[in-house]
C-alpha cells in the first residue's frame, strides 16, 4: 500500500545520495561479480546472516510456516495421532453446509455494521472537537485514550457486571432515574448485539481519536486562511477544509475498522459465548469452536478452511475497496 511504501522510499532516497548499498559498496569495482564464500564472509555477508537469524527463525516457525500450513491443512483431515489425510474440498463443503454458518455470517455483518454506525462517527466528532480545544488539550486526549489501556478482558468482565439484567444492575439503575427499563441486556436477543457493540466502541474509540488528532494538526494553516478570506464560517471550514483533508485517514480507518470488527471474538466469547440462541455467534467464534470447542479434539480442517475463507474474503474486500477509492484520495 502506498502509505507503507512512501516513507521507506523517502528514507532510501535520503540514503542514496550518501553511499551505495553498504553490504557491497566497499569492494573494488572489478571484483564485485565473482565472489567466493571467503570474500563474501569478509565483506560482512556472514554477519548479515547472523543478525537475520532471530527474524528468520521466529518468522519462519511462527508466522510463514503456519500461514502456509493453514492453507495446506484446509485440504486435509488432521488429528493429533496419525498422519493427515488429503480430503480435497471436503472441509470447505463441511463448513459451507454447516447450518450455523448463515447465522454466524449474519451476526458478524450485523456487528460490523452496528460498530460502523456507532463507532465510526464518535471518534471523528470527538477528535475534531478536541482539536479546537485551546487549554489542556492533553487532558482531553488522555481521557479519550484511557479506556484503550484497560485490559480488554477486564473491560468485558466489568461491562458484563454493568449489563446485569436485574433492576439493580448498574445501567438499569441509571436508566431508572429517567424512568426507563429495566432491560435484560445480554439475554435479550435484540439488545445483546448493540450491547456488545457499545462496549467494543468504548474500548476501541480512543485509539482512533488519537489517529485523527495526529492527522488533524497536520492540516495546513494556509487552507484555513484561504477559506476565511473567502468568508467561510466555522462549520464550513470544518466541512470543506478539515473533512476533505482527513479523507485519506478516514478511508483507511474505515476499512481497518471493518477488517477488525469482522474478526470480533473477545466480546461474544466472554459476554455471551455466542448466545442467547446463537444471537451472537460470530465467524471467529465458529472457528474457535471447530478447533478448540470440543474436549474430544478439534476439527482442525474445518477451522482452517473457515479461517482461510475469511482471510480470502477480507483480502478481496480490501482490494476492491482500494480499487474503488483510489480515485477519491488523490494521494
Amino acid at each position: 500500500m502506498s502509505a507503507l511504501g512512501a516513507p521507506r522510499r523517502a528514507g532510501d532516497a535520503a540514503v542514496a545520495g550518501g553511499n551505495h548499498r553498504p553490504g557491497t559498496g566497499d569492494a573494488p569495482v572489478g571484483r564485485v561479480r565473482r565472489r567466493s564464500p571467503v570474500t563474501w564472509a569478509q565483506r560482512g555477508g556472514l554477519s548479515s546472516v547472523v543478525f537475520a537469524l532471530p527474524l528468520l527463525v521466529i518468522f519462519g516457525v511462527f508466522s510463514w510456516w503456519p500461514i502456509v500450513r493453514s492453507v495446506v491443512m484446509s485440504f486435509q483431515k488432521t488429528n493429533l495421532v496419525g498422519t493427515p489425510k488429503w480430503v480435497g474440498w471436503h472441509n470447505f463443503q463441511y463448513v459451507l453446509t454447516d447450518p450455523d454458518l448463515p447465522t454466524a455470517i449474519r451476526n458478524t455483518l450485523y456487528f460490523a455494521l452496528l460498530a460502523l454506525v456507532i463507532g465510526f462517527p464518535v471518534p471523528l466528532v470527538t477528535a475534531v472537537l478536541i482539536s479546537s480545544v485551546r487549554k489542556r488539550k492533553g487532558l482531553y486526549s488522555v481521557l479519550a485514550y484511557l479506556p484503550v489501556v484497560v485490559p480488554p478482558v477486564v473491560a468485558v468482565l466489568l461491562w458484563k457486571f454493568f449489563y446485569d439484567g436485574s433492576a439493580d444492575g448498574v445501567f438499569n439503575t441509571i436508566l431508572s432515574y429517567v424512568g426507563l427499563g429495566p432491560y435484560t441486556w445480554l439475554s435479550s436477543s435484540s439488545l445483546v448485539m448493540p450491547s456488545l457493540v457499545v462496549e467494543a466502541t468504548w474500548a476501541a474509540a480512543g485509539g482512533t481519536v488519537i489517529i485523527y488528532l495526529a492527522a488533524l494538526i497536520s492540516v495546513p494553516d494556509e487552507l484555513y486562511d484561504a477559506a476565511e478570506v473567502d468568508g467561510a464560517g466555522i462549520w464550513r471550514k470544518v466541512w470543506h477544509v478539515t473533512m476533505p483533508q482527513l479523507r485519506g485517514v478516514l478511508l483507511i480507518t474505515f476499512i481497518l475498522q471493518i477488517i477488525g470488527t469482522v474478526q470480533v471474538f473477545l466480546e461474544p466469547y466472554l459476554f455471551t459465548g455466542g448466545g442467547p440462541a446463537n444471537a451472537t455467534l460470530t465467524i471467529l467464534l465458529m472457528i474457535y469452536n471447530y478447533g478448540f470447542g470440543s474436549s474430544l479434539g478439534g476439527n482442525y480442517g474445518a477451522a482452517t478452511a473457515l479461517s482461510v475463507m475469511l482471510a480470502a474474503f477480507l483480502a478481496i474486500l480490501s482490494l476492491v475497496y482500494f480499487k474503488l477509492t483510489s480515485g477519491w484520495s488523490k494521494s
Partner: protein
Amino acid sequence: MTFPPNSDGSGRATAVAADVRGQAPEAATPVGAAGAARPVRKRKASQFEGGRGYVSAQDWRNTRVSVTMKTLHAILLGLLLIIGIGPMLLLAKYAITPTQDIIRTPLAIFPHGVRWANISEAWNDVQISKYFLNTIWLAAGSWFVQMVVATTGGYVLSVLRPAWGKIINGLVIATLFVPSVVLLVPLYLTILNPPGLGTSLINSFWAVWLPSGASAFNVVLMTRFFDSLPREVFEAAKVDGASSFRLFWSVVLPMSKPILGVVSVFATIASWKDFLWPMLVLKDPAQQPLSVRLPAIASQTDLGVFLASLAISTLIPVVFFLAFQRLFLSGAGLGGAVKG
C-alpha cells in the same frame, strides 16, 4: 515534537514517522523540505498542539462562536470524564465495597462502609498475586523476544542490506495482511509439536514468548526508523574499524532510543492484553496470566473480591499509561500510520 505540514493523505504516514524521528538526536532530513516552510516549534505541553485549527483567533473574539465552542468543549469534557474515567472510578469503588452493597445499590457511595478485605482476599486467597506475576513474566519475556527480533531484523534490513534483504522485507510485510486468525490452528499445532525440539511447549511460557516475536509491525517500525538515521555515522564507525556487532550495539541502538521506547510500550501492553493465545497454550491454571484467569474465576468468586481482582489487573496498565502518556499517544498515532 513538531509535525511538519502535509497536504495529502500519503504524507500522513511520513508525518507520524517523522514525529518519531524528530525525537532522535539527529533530526531527520527527508522531511526537511516540507518542514522548512515553517519555523521550528518548541516542545509543547501536548503533542497534539500545533497548527491553528479551524477556529481562528478572530473567531474566538466573536462572542457567539466563543460561547458555542466553549459550551461544546465543556460538554465534551463532561462526557469524556463520565465515559473515560467513570467506569474505572466505579471499579475502584467496588474494589472496597461489601458485596451486598454492590449488588443492591451499585451507585450508592459506601452505604455500609468500606471493606478493604476485598483487596487482600483477592491478592492472597484468590491468588491474584500469582497470576499477576505470571502476567509480568509473560510481558517481560515477550518484550525481550520482540526487541531482539525487531532490532536485529531492522538492522539487517535497513543497515546491512544484503542482496536477499528485499525478499525478507517483502515476506515480513506480507504477514501484515494476513489476519491472525489464520495462524491460530497451525500455530497451536506447531506449539504442540515444535520442529526439532521433540517436546511440546504447551504450558511453557515459551509458547507465548516465541510467537510474539513474529510481529511484522515492530520490524517495519524499526526498519523505518533505522532508515532515517544518518549513514555518515555508520560509515565513520566502519572506517574506525567497528565490526557489524559493534556498529549495532554501540551506534545504532543508542541512536534509536525513541523507537525502542515505542516498541517496548507496544510489546508490553499487547502482552498484557492478550487473551486467546495464552488461554490456548497455557492450560495449567498455575501458569496462566490475569487475562485468562479472571474469566475462569468469575463464577466461583465473591463479587466484591472479584471486582477487586479486576481493579488490581487494571492498575498497572493505567499507571503505566499515565506515566508514559507521550510515548503511548505517539505510539497510537503511529499504529494507525503503519497499519495504513
